[in-house]
């Protein structure tokens, strides 16, 4: 049976059903429903919830819990995620699985609490110091939040790479009907021979560490991380294409803007303009092959990249297109959100 849930609540419940048993976080708008929900729900399933004294403490608790083998998660919003970056870099280097939710607000600085996409660079290019990436998803609907969170721990553990969900307040606050999957059977998960969970007595000592003083040791680790990113790219890259078969103009946007652009495609089509949508679902690794495919089609005249920032994803779009097709950019800033009609006006050249 379907349930009507807010995006934030759906993220929390899907995380539980996907096996989340530890959460540490610190309050910040617009993601507070996630910790609020987990504060009572985790106890029901035998998990632990901690409201930490700070974001820095929260991410390091996730580091510890994840290292001990728990399915651990934290959530925050832009300034809070910035505070967590040191810990995220350590976690990535120590190859500890975990899930990090960023319900992005406008910025820089403390910014505002309305929807924005200015954290794209931070999320997809590493975010903290050093040579690493996260596996980053940008869901557009509440159901997609559920589907991604439900499998996020599996994916994170498979590749021993932290997973980040990039949403915004609109996605967190919107209510939609969703189908919730069954609880995952946590007794049937693959073993974690690296986890410091008290097992493996008499075997080689398990050490969780992100300090590699010897250059040769550090080099091996970085190469291992990047080999995994290649594997993730082969196996986990996802994008939605909508009415691209005969399209001449390709709109491209992610997250909530992706669904607004989808409505814009429908309006443009009703005006006789052959528009289509390419919406990346994984933001890192970036589904560049989908862009390359469309770029090679003769009928495709141009791409229009739409974001709630000054243009960050557009750099990945341009790399993927490799100069084969022109790209125009349309963005709103500061927490303002464009309507489908605004996008249509821009595409038709009616916006200065």
């Amino acid at each position: 049976m379907k349930k009507l849930l807010k995006g934030n609540e759906a993220i929390a419940e899907a995380a539980i059903r996907g096996g989340c048993r530890f959460f540490a976080g610190y309050p910040i708008t617009p993601q507070n429903e996630i910790p609020e929900y987990l504060s009572w729900r985790l106890r029901e399933v035998g998990g632990e919830f901690v409201q930490a004294e700070s974001e820095v403490a929260a991410i390091n608790m996730v580091y510890g819990a994840g290292g001990a083998g728990a399915r651990a998660m934290t959530s925050s919003s832009s300034p809070g995620i910035s505070l967590k970056q040191e810990g995220i870099s350590y976690i990535a280097c120590a190859e500890i699985p975990c899930v990090i939710v960023n319900m992005v607000r406008s910025g820089p600085g403390l910014g505002g609490i309305q929807p924005a996409q200015g954290d794209y660079f931070q999320a997809t290019k590493g975010g903290g110091h050093g040579d690493y990436h996260l596996l980053v998803y940008g869901p557009a609907t509440v159901q997609e939040c559920v589907d991604i969170l439900y499998n996020a721990f599996d994916v994170s553990e498979k590749y021993r790479t932290p997973v980040m969900i990039l949403g915004d307040g609109m996605l967190g606050q919107i209510m939609e009907a969703v189908e919730l999957p069954e609880m995952k059977d946590l007794t049937k998960l693959p073993a974690k021979p690296w986890a410091t969970d008290g097992t493996g007595v008499g075997e080689k000592r398990r050490i969780i560490n992100s300090l590699y003083i010897e250059p040769d040791d550090m080099e091996v680790v970085i190469k291992r991380l990047y080999a995994r990113y290649d594997e993730i790219k082969r196996n986990e890259c996802k994008a939605e294409t909508y009415k691209t078969e005969d399209a001449e103009i390709i709109l491209t946007a992610y997250g909530t803007v992706g669904r607004i652009a989808k409505s814009a495609v429908n309006i443009l089509r009703s005006k006789g303009i052959k528009a289509g949508l390419l919406r990346p679902i994984t933001l890192y690794p970036f589904p560049d092959y989908e862009y390359a495919k469309l770029a090679d089609k003769a009928e495709v005249k141009e791409f229009v990249d739409i974001e709630l920032c000054m243009g960050q994803m557009i750099e990945d779009v341009k790399l993927a297109l490799n100069g084969k097709k022109p790209v125009r950019f349309f963005g709103r800033l500061g927490g303002n959100v464009m309507s489908a009609e605004d996008i249509v006006d821009f595409v038709l050249g009616e916006v200065k």
């Binding site: 609490i113 307040g169 609109m170 919107i174 209510m175 989808k262 409505s263 309507s339 489908a340 009609e341």
Partner: protein, 177 residues
Amino acid sequence: MEEKIIIAGFGGQGVLSLGQFIAYSAMYENLSCTWLPSYGPEMRGGTANCSVVVSDETVASPIIATPDTLIAMNKPSLAKFVNKVKSGGTIIVNSSLIDEKVTRTDVKVSYIDAQALALEAGNAKTANIVVLGAYIAMSKILPFETVYNTIDKLFEKKPKVIPVNKKAFEIGFNSVK
């Protein structure tokens, strides 16, 4: 079918829950629906609004530029959204708090004295449910019974208030000729 509704008023008037009643009812009718509230530093007495989109196809954008229907529960809300309603659309005006008339002639306007009708039902707090009834009667996007039954479901934990809300819904529904 796609119906885009903006519901706006003071915080505390139940505009967000009015939208949720529509959203839940749409779900029970197996329709696609999005409910998007304004969020921010809002409080009782401040302004609040929500955008609800109901469709028989999957809803893409939850952002409404030109609503098919505006439900204005107070004056500032009417002023803010009146010119955004699409030509041929509907405006429901809570005449208990709004003494002015809509000057547009290209929209259908219904004036509902929600406060008086809510008192008739037995509780002034049910003014939003009165308006819900009026909206369902005017728009016909959802069957009367579905929304009526949604009242049972959403007030499951407060069964005492179910009868007065059902009465308010009926009164609102029947207030529309």
